[in-house]
C-alpha cells in the first residue's frame, strides 16, 4: 500500500520537483531570479553540476561507501562462487556411506572442511545454497526494481503527455492505491504457476504506480512549458531541457526508489515463501533457506542453518536501505549549498 510512502522518497521528490520547477522558471525571460546568498555562492563557485555535487556528498559518507563496496563484493561473489574449486551443486544431495555399506543422504551435517556450512535436512550443501539463494533473491529484487522504474517511467510519461489518458490513469492510481499489496501478492503468486517470473510479476504489478505519478507530475511541467509559445521561442529546445534539467533529477529519484524496492522485494520473497507460495523446489532463495532454517530454530546445534542466511540477507537489505538513505541525502539539491 503506497498511501504512506517512504519519507525519504517523498522528501527527495519534493526537493527535486521544486528544483526542476525553479530551473524551468529561471529560463523564462521575464522572471526575476530570486536573489539569495547561496545562489551567488553557487555561481561564484563556477558551474554547478548536480551529479558532481551528488557524488561528492555521497563519497563523503564513509559508512555508505563501505556498505556499497561490501555489497559489490557480495554481488560479485555470488557469481564467482560456483566457479571456485570444491563447490557443490546447490540442489544436489550429498551422500555418505554408512557402516553397513549403504549410501544415504548426508542430513544436517555440521560445518566441516568439505561442506563449509554443513548440509540441510535433505543433504544439500548449505554454502552453495546460500550463495545461489543470495544470487536468486538479489535477481528478484533487482528485476522488480527495474521493472517498477521502467514501467513507471513509460506510464508516467503517457499519463502526463496524453491528456485523454489522464482520467484512466487517475482511476488506476486510486484502485491500485487501495488494494493491499500483500493481498495482490498472495493472489497472483497462487493463481500463476510457481516460478521466478511469477514472483517478479506479482511484486512489481502495484509498485510502478508511485514512480509513474512522480514522472507524470514532472512531465506536466515540461508539457505546460511546451504549450507556452513564448518560452519555446526564447528558450532552449525541449529535448535539451529534458536531458539537462530533468533527467539527472529523475535518475536520482529512480535510484532511491530502486535502492528501497530491492530490500522490500527480498523481504516479500521471504514472506511469500513462508506461506508456501514461493519459488519452485529447484530454485534456492534466501526465503527458502530461512523458512527451512526456521524449523530448526528450536534445536541450538542446528540453529546456524537459520543464522547464516539471516546474516547475509540482513547485510544485503540493510546495505541497500542505508545506501539509498545516504544517496537521497546526497542527491537532494537542497543539501548542495
Amino acid at each position: 500500500m503506497s498511501v504512506l510512502k517512504h519519507p525519504k522518497i517523498d522528501k527527495l521528490e519534493q526537493s527535486v520537483s521544486s528544483e526542476i520547477k525553479q530551473q524551468f522558471s529561471q529560463e523564462e525571460l521575464f522572471s526575476i531570479a530570486p536573489f539569495d546568498e547561496a545562489e551567488t555562492e553557487r555561481t561564484g563557485a563556477g558551474s554547478y553540476s548536480y551529479w558532481r555535487s551528488t557524488l561528492r556528498a555521497f563519497r563523503r559518507n564513509k559508512i555508505a561507501m563501505f556498505l556499497l563496496i561490501m555489497l559489490v563484493v557480495i554481488v560479485l561473489f555470488t557469481f564467482i562462487q560456483p566457479h571456485l574449486p570444491g563447490q557443490f551443486d546447490p540442489n544436489a544431495a550429498s551422500f555418505e556411506v554408512t557402516a553397513t555399506g549403504q549410501s544415504k543422504p548426508l542430513k544436517n551435517s555440521p560445518p566441516d572442511s568439505v561442506h563449509w556450512m554443513g548440509t540441510n535436512a535433505i543433504g544439500q550443501d548449505l554454502w552453495a545454497r546460500l550463495w545461489a539463494g543470495t544470487r536468486n533473491s538479489l535477481f528478484i529484487g533487482v528485476m522488480v526494481a527495474l521493472i517498477e522504474a521502467l514501467v513507471g517511467i513509460v506510464m508516467g510519461v503517457l499519463w502526463g503527455y496524453v491528456r485523454k489518458l489522464d482520467f484512466l490513469f487517475t482511476e488506476i492510481y486510486n484502485v491500485l492505491d487501495n488494494i493491499p499489496t500483500t493481498i495482490v501478492l498472495i493472489l497472483i503468486s497462487f493463481i500463476m504457476r510457481p516460478a521466478m517470473s511469477t514472483l517478479i510479476f506479482a511484486m512489481s504489478v502495484t509498485g510502478w504506480i508511485g514512480m509513474a505519478r512522480f514522472v507524470r507530475n514532472q512531465v506536466l511541467i515540461i508539457r505546460d512549458r511546451d504549450y507556452n509559445v513564448a518560452s519555446r521561442c526564447l528558450g532552449t529546445s525541449t529535448w535539451r531541457i529534458i536531458v539537462k534539467n530533468l533527467l539527472p533529477y529523475l535518475v536520482s529519484v529512480i535510484m532511491l526508489r530502486m535502492a528501497l524496492s530491492i530490500p522490500g522485494a527480498i523481504g516479500s520473497e521471504v514472506f511469500i515463501t513462508y506461506i508456501g507460495l514461493g519459488l519452485p523446489a529447484d530454485i534456492p532463495s534466501l526465503g527458502k533457506l530461512i523458512t527451512e532454517g526456521r524449523k530448526l530454530l528450536a534445536s541450538p546445534s542446528k540453529r546456524y542453518q537459520l543464522i547464516y542466511p539471516t546474516v547475509i540477507l540482513s547485510i544485503v537489505t540493510v546495505s541497500f536501505y542505508m545506501i539509498g538513505n545516504a544517496f537521497s541525502d546526497a542527491a537532494d539539491p537542497k543539501n548542495h549549498l
Partner: protein, 367 residues
C-alpha cells in the same frame, strides 16, 4: 540627543559555507538611540538583515560572531544576576547580546525587550492556532496573563492595531484574513510583548501599495503610544522618507553612511548613497533609462580591500582601491566612510539628480 539603547561596536559576523568563510558583517559601529526610528537601507545581501538577526539571536546555524559587541541598555540591572554578559559602562548597565552563550539568556530578551516583525505576514502566523491564541500567547509568556484577562487585553490590542470586529477576529484562523490583516495581527503580537525595540524587517514589501501606507501610519501611531524604538530594515526609500528619523546606509556588510533623514536625502556624501538615491524611480526623467547601479556587490568570501564600492564607482579614487576609508564626520549627526571627504581629495560633485532631489524636497518643506 537621547541616550543609546543599543550600541554596536566593531561587529563582525561570518558564515561558514562548504568549508569557506563568508564575511557578512565587517566591523559595524552603530548606536540605536532610545525612542528613535532608524532605517537601515541597502541592497539585498548588504547585510542589513544579518545585522538585525544578531539583535534577537536568530543568526543562522552556520553564522558566528568572531568579534564585536552589542550592548543593550534597556534592562537596567535586571540581567546582572542572570547572565555573565552583563556589565556597566558610561551609558549605564548593559548586557552584551553578542556574547550570549545560552538559549535561555535570549528568552529574557526576545519579545519582552527586543521584538521583530518578520518580512512575510502570510507565512508568519501559525496556521492551526486562532488569532486570539497567538496574540495572547505573548501575554502569557511575558505578563503571566491568562483566561479572561488575557482575552480582554488581546481584544484591546486588536483595536490598537485597527482591526475591526475584534471579538470575531479573535476566534478566526490566519487563512481567513487578508494579507494586510495578517500584517496587523503580526504587529499586534509584537505589541503584546511590549518590547522596547521593535525591528521591522521589510514591513511593507509583501503588501500592496494602498495597504503599505496604512501599515506605516499604524506603526507611527504605535510608536508614540508604546514609546517604542523602531529599526526599519528596508530597501524602499519611500518608506525611509516617510517614517525614519535617521538612516544608516549599508553596503557589503558595512555602514557606509549614517545621518539624519534630511542629511542622507539632501546632503549625501558617499557615492553609494548617491547611486542608491539616483535609482529612485520618482527622479527619473520621462523617456530616459532609469539609473541602475552597474556591476555586482563584492564577493564576501574574499577579503575586501579599500572601499567596497570602489569597483562599481566610475569616479573612484586610487586610494579607494587600496585602503578602507575611515568615517569622516560631516555634522555631529552625519558621518560617511568615503575618501571624498578627506581634505586632500578632489572635489567630486554628486550627480545632478541629487540636486534635483534637494530641490523637490526643499519645495516640499517650504509649503
Amino acid at each position: 540627543m537621547s541616550k543609546p539603547i543599543l550600541s554596536v561596536r566593531n561587529l563582525h559576523v561570518k558564515f561558514t559555507l562548504r568549508g569557506r568563510e563568508l564575511h557578512a558583517l565587517r566591523g559595524i559601529d552603530l548606536d540605536v538611540l532610545d525612542g528613535e526610528s532608524l532605517a537601515i537601507v541597502g541592497e539585498s545581501g548588504s547585510g542589513k538583515s544579518v545585522l538585525n538577526k544578531n539583535f534577537i539571536g536568530l543568526l543562522d546555524q552556520n553564522g558566528f560572531i568572531p568579534e564585536g559587541s552589542i550592548r543593550y541598555y534597556g534592562m537596567g540591572d535586571k540581567m546582572r544576576n542572570y547572565s555573565d554578559c552583563a556589565g556597566e559602562d558610561e551609558n549605564g548597565p548593559y548586557v552584551d547580546l553578542a556574547s550570549f552563550k545560552r538559549k535561555d539568556e535570549w528568552l529574557r530578551i526576545r519579545g519582552s525587550e527586543i521584538c521583530m516583525i518578520p518580512q512575510d505576514p502570510m507565512t508568519s502566523l501559525n496556521p492551526l492556532k486562532t488569532i486570539g491564541w497567538q496574540i495572547s500567547e505573548a501575554l502569557r509568556l511575558h505578563h503571566g496573563m491568562t483566561g479572561r484577562m488575557a482575552k480582554e487585553e488581546t481584544l484591546r490590542i486588536l483595536q490598537d492595531v485597527r482591526i475591526d470586529n475584534p471579538e470575531r477576529r479573535f476566534k478566526q484562523y490566519p487563512h481567513e484574513l487578508s494579507g494586510g490583516m495578517r500584517q496587523r495581527v503580526v504587529i499586534a503580537i509584537a505589541i503584546a510583548c511590549q518590547p522596547r525595540i521593535l525591528i521591522c524587517d521589510e514591513p511593507t514589501t509583501a503588501l500592496d501599495v494602498t495597504i503599505q501606507a496604512q501599515v506605516l501610519t499604524l506603526l507611527r501611531e504605535l510608536k508614540e503610544k508604546y514609546s517604542l524604538t523602531i529599526i526599519f530594515i528596508t530597501h524602499d526609500l519611500g518608506v525611509v522618507a516617510n517614517i525614519a528619523d535617521r538612516v544608516a546606509v549599508m553596503y557589503a556588510g558595512d555602514i557606509v553612511e549614517l545621518g539624519l533623514v534630511n542629511e542622507i536625502f539632501y546632503e549625501p556624501k558617499h557615492p553609494y548613497t548617491w547611486a542608491l538615491l539616483s535609482s529612485l524611480p520618482q527622479l527619473g526623467n520621462r523617456g530616459e533609462d532609469l539609473y541602475a547601479i552597474r556591476g555586482t556587490p563584492p564577493n564576501l568570501f574574499k577579503a575586501v580591500q579599500g572601499d567596497a564600492f570602489a569597483a562599481r564607482n566610475p569616479q573612484a579614487l586610487v586610494i579607494d582601491k587600496l585602503e578602507q576609508p575611515p568615517y569622516f564626520e560631516v555634522s555631529p549627526t552625519h558621518k560617511a566612510r568615503t575618501w571624498l571627504l578627506d581634505p586632500r581629495a578632489p572635489k567630486v560633485e554628486p550627480p545632478a539628480v541629487i540636486a534635483k532631489l534637494k530641490e523637490l524636497g526643499g519645495a516640499h518643506h517650504g509649503e
